[in-house]
Symmetry: C4
């Protein structure tokens, strides 16, 4: 009995976490469909006309996905080694958030908006698809972003400073009568402007304010070049990944490039 239970557990593990077997693939595809369907349902439910016309169908499908995700959650709970680790892990919480709010909404209809949290489940797609063909590209992007972390920090800090400064100045120059009611509002305007979004809900009215805004726009425009240049430069310098790494057999240090002939940490030869 225990033996066959363990065997079943192992089999389930292959299906749920693996991607190589047909059953594992089928499970992934079905989960992707369920997650996307669930999200589309949340979207559809928010539209008055759809909710009024297909209210019953939406409730039925919500129940259906609820059952699927509940079963999935229980299965995951059963097969993982350390239940506590899974429950407290990022995806454990995400998986729980996909089902809990619906149970709540059955008893407390007024917190119905909590249901939107279900869309967080889309994050699972990253975890599922990461095991696919995108991992290489995705990780190259991530590494390029990580490598330029310091540069991007300096850039973000400078931008925050400019936003704070220009926001304060515009609050003084334009004042509450022109929509710049306080500094946070002014800073919001500065972000809207420097990011070139420009809603136009708040816009400068005085000549001095317009001049300062113009400067901010040109700066914001030019400053966009900086992160682009950084990423572009970093991508060019980031190795493609995965298949290309040589690892030192002595000290396990990764070679900096394929062309390296000796380990840069312990000096032992990589062989041919």
């Amino acid at each position: 009995m225990t033996f066959s239970y363990n065997k079943m557990k192992e089999k389930l593990h292959t299906i749920i976490f693996g991607t190589d077997t047909p059953a594992g693939k089928a499970f992934d595809v079905m989960l992707i469909i369920a997650i996307i369907g669930n999200s589309l349902l949340v979207i559809a439910e928010s539209v008055d006309s759809i909710r009024n016309a297909y209210g019953l169908l939406i409730t039925a499908l919500t129940g259906f996905f609820l059952i699927i995700f509940t079963i999935e959650y229980i299965l995951r709970l059963l097969i993982v080694e350390r239940q506590k680790d899974y429950v407290l892990s990022f995806f454990g919480i995400i998986d729980l958030l996909a089902i809990l709010p619906i149970y709540f909404s059955f008893f407390l209809p007024q917190v119905r908006f909590l249901v939107v949290i279900r869309t967080f489940r889309l994050l699972r797609l990253f975890s599922i698809l990461k095991m696919g063909r995108y991992i290489d590209e995705s990780s190259q992007l991530l590494r390029a972003l990580k490598a330029s972390k310091a540069k991007i920090s300096v850039f973000l800090f400078t931008m925050l400073f400019i936003i704070m400064l220009v926001g304060s100045m515009m609050y003084i120059i334009e004042g509450p009568e022109n929509g710049f009611v306080n500094i946070p509002e002014s800073m919001y305007w500065a972000v809207v402007t420097v990011s070139t979004v420009g809603y136009g809900d708040i816009s400068p009215q005085t000549p001095v304010g317009k001049l300062l805004s113009s400067l901010l726009m040109i700066v914001g425009y030019g400053i966009l070049a900086v992160p682009t240049g950084i990423i572009s430069h970093e991508l060019a310098n980031t190795p493609k990944g995965v298949v290309k790494t040589k690892i030192c057999q002595k000290c396990n240090t990764e070679a900096n490039s394929q062309a390296d002939r000796f380990c840069s940490n312990c000096g032992s030869s990589f062989g041919s």
Copy 2:
């Protein structure tokens, strides 16, 4: 009779599909003029004042282009080897869409708006001009785009996820009373914001909404750097074209351009 028909067919083929003979060139130029003229006609017709003033001229020109494109379509039908393949091909459908709606509109004036489909014919320009001097550049761009397909997919998926997430959150935070009437509407707002378009038809009103929007803008602003960096990086790594390189037979140095007649390294002739 059959012989001369085949000969004529062959000649027509050279004119319609070829670009090297003077007749082929003239046909291309005339077709380009007709396509652009036809599109300008569709544009002009949509303007009330022009339609009222030059209604007759527009009808006459529409008929004129209709005849030209009908003849062209019949000719293409006659000279291609497999009629069915052409009719069902992309350009076969485009060519048919350029004439069919007009015939419809003569009998069913109320579906007149179908006529706009005629502008799809502009796509033919790609097919005609592709045979010109732009093919090399165009295909280099296409190859760069193709090479970065996976990266761009990851990027688009991430953006879609952000749009969905922020859209849902803004629907909860701002609610229908501030213009975020449902999640699709909120997602539309998120696209308008993250792409830095910022119409201002919907904009956040609550402090929390403004804070979240500001974050989205800065992220959207920074995230623009990613596709730019990708394309830029990919372009740098994409070879210019297929036929491109001459190599010196003596010293193996690559010629700097096709126009070089002597090796810039050792001075030996490249031959004719």
Copy 3:
């Protein structure tokens, strides 16, 4: 007499066209000040409150600059070899446009707006400053732009096509009742959207229109990466300029790079 006239002509030539002598430099600086002052005057004159307060000063300064530019024009006419060539040249016309409209406005006050054409004179700044330290950078930029001409053409053509297509479709989808009164107006909206400007004077109202707009925005957003990548790539491949060109003494062909040892056109050695 003739001799001294020629000598004076030569001297004037050095002053007006040269930049190396102190007098030539002083002339350039004065001309730059006059051109900028003249443009600021045009700007100031357009502001009602300034015109009302300082009307007389503005008229006086306008007259002053008119005299200066008239003298300059006559001097240029006198010292150039072929008067006709200068008058019909680009800068000849620009120089004339800087003075003619003012003379007109004295007799025909109602065409006063012609006076704005005077600002075209700012273009002279390019011609003056080009002879300064910016020539290298400027020409490198120009060469990079020229080198990517074909790619940019393909890009612009694709964008025009997208604008035309989406404009027509939005005209059908949204219609005149939502502000898309005709196709040119729709195309204007498409440009405003794809360039991420987003005034919000026209914006989609129907769900289908909003969906199509969202697609256009994401495309427009991504497509921005293309010209950036092209320029960035081209700049990296464009040699810095000026000092770096070797020219073949036999056939006058420019070397492709400093590293070339033989002329790539005629095969003769560049020497050491």
Copy 4:
């Protein structure tokens, strides 16, 4: 007495200007907290509802930061060698501006808005954090910007010219009745448009104005590629930092990173 004073002065110098000692680090961290807290206070004070609710707390905290910054200013004055140089230096003025306006505002409540100048103190953060880990990245960015100064000047000048020209033309085309009340206003619109911000407070109404705007947008869109390309290109050519490279003394190969302990080419040790 003098001796112990000098010793204390030296000690204070280590604390205030140094970052290596625990006391120096603690001072920096406290100063950063005070500066950020002070700025948040200015922001909070500008919001009516917060000022009404926590008026007393804000006054108290303002006084608290005032005392801290006054003590800091006096300490800096005491320990620097040349008092006059510090007082007239950039940061000397910034430090003074952080305290002076508050003293003023106690006597002249109507100039209360001067208090906003206190946020300028955020600039100190640059000076403090520059001594941290960001210096390398920051200076690389600065050097890349400096290296492309000439190119960016040409770019900015061209943009200013386009803004001036298009602004003037739109003033003539659209005129005061469509919101283009004078040339400065038109130029403000041109900046808003070319930087793709697009508030929509002023937008073209006439067909000719819309056509010209469309051209400006496409140009502005394309022109954004130029500074991005420049920065990107410059970053690629800027060496990472000053102390950066270890070179193998045997084979002259550069180490891939500072952390390498053995040459990756010949395997010889880099020494300690």
